[in-house]
Amino acid sequence: MAGPKARRTDRPSRTAVALAFGIAIAAAVALVAVAVLSRNDSSSSPPTANPVVDLAGIPQAGRVLGSPAAKLTLIEYADPQCPACRLYSEEFFPTLVREYVRPGRVRTEFRGFPFLGDDSVKAYRFLLAAAEQDRLWNLAEALYRNQGAENSGWVTDDLIRGLAAEIPGLDVDKLFTDAERADIRQQAESAGAAASAAGIGGTPSFLIVVGNEQPYAVQFGSVDQMRAALDDALSG
């Protein structure tokens, strides 16, 4: 380090200091301007009302999608508001359905962990109500594709009504009636505590259950990693 004496004689002039901070202010303004102008605003794209993943013809029973005879059950703990859950739904769920669920090798069970806020609990109430009509997975997939900013009030009745109307076989009026039921409200509001009690710390979290064996946890990292985890469990 240079000594104090050397620093005093070499200290930058007032002009140099003013120039440096002038440049710093200009750089900060330019940085913010570039950040604003280069922003990739995905929210400006129109919402997708129709579920993209084709679930037609696949058995659904309550919160479970897939054949009851499937060798493997993939349990998913999810929050409809969680961006990581949306990522899983968009990136792996189509593969899961096409390669594992539709052929009857795997069934998947949705367990809510609505911990992020009021929109989470409301969305989960409607998912449970959709489960009463065996359409939970259709609505979940549609909600992820229309996910809004966390706790912004994006889970509106209008949004759900619009999405639900596009789901074949779903009675929209019954959906709204069931979502207000005391038992479904209680189930949605206590789901977070139940998931925590089961040792779940975040979403999405997955458990693989093969037959009567002990469940074990897997984490979603990529399509290939998840595919490998399922293949490994199925071949065991």
Partner: protein, 134 residues
């Protein structure tokens, strides 16, 4: 505070900035680490359209900036001090912008981002500015 202590403290704060920015850069690129956890919010912030500038992750820009500031602190010539203070000032100004985004626009707060915006960036700006006076 002596000049030596001031420099050492600034160096430690810059190092803390490097650690936080490196973690956030890793989270940005590693999808496997994207799990929503209670009290988190990093996922929302990191996946928002504000997490990148012209294709570059904001966290990576922070990592590079903190590394340069640390280098200038270690170099410790009068003009290196001025450079460190100016760059730390840019970092502080941009951190204020990011903080406003989290609180007002994205409506989600990332704990690690908050640690940077409220503690590390302001502390580094003050410490590097104080070094100009010694």
């Amino acid at each position: 505070m002596s000049d030596r202590t001031l420099s050492a403290t600034a160096g430690i704060v810059a190092l803390a900035g490097i650690v936080v920015a490196a973690y956030l850069t890793w989270v940005h690129y590693d999808e496997g680490a994207l799990v929503c956890v209670a009290g988190g919010g990093c996922e929302t912030v990191q996946q928002s359209s504000y997490a990148e500038i012209a294709g570059l992750p904001v966290a990576l820009l922070g990592l590079v900036s903190y590394t340069i500031v640390l280098g200038l602190i270690v170099w410790d010539t009068p003009y290196a001090r001025l450079g460190a203070a100016a760059l730390a000032f840019v970092g502080l100004a941009f951190s204020v912008y990011l903080l406003v985004l989290q609180l007002v626009v994205i409506d989600a707060v990332c704990v690690w981002c908050l640690a940077n915006d409220v503690l590390i960036a302001p502390a580094l700006a003050v410490l590097t500015a104080l070094r100009l006076r010694t």
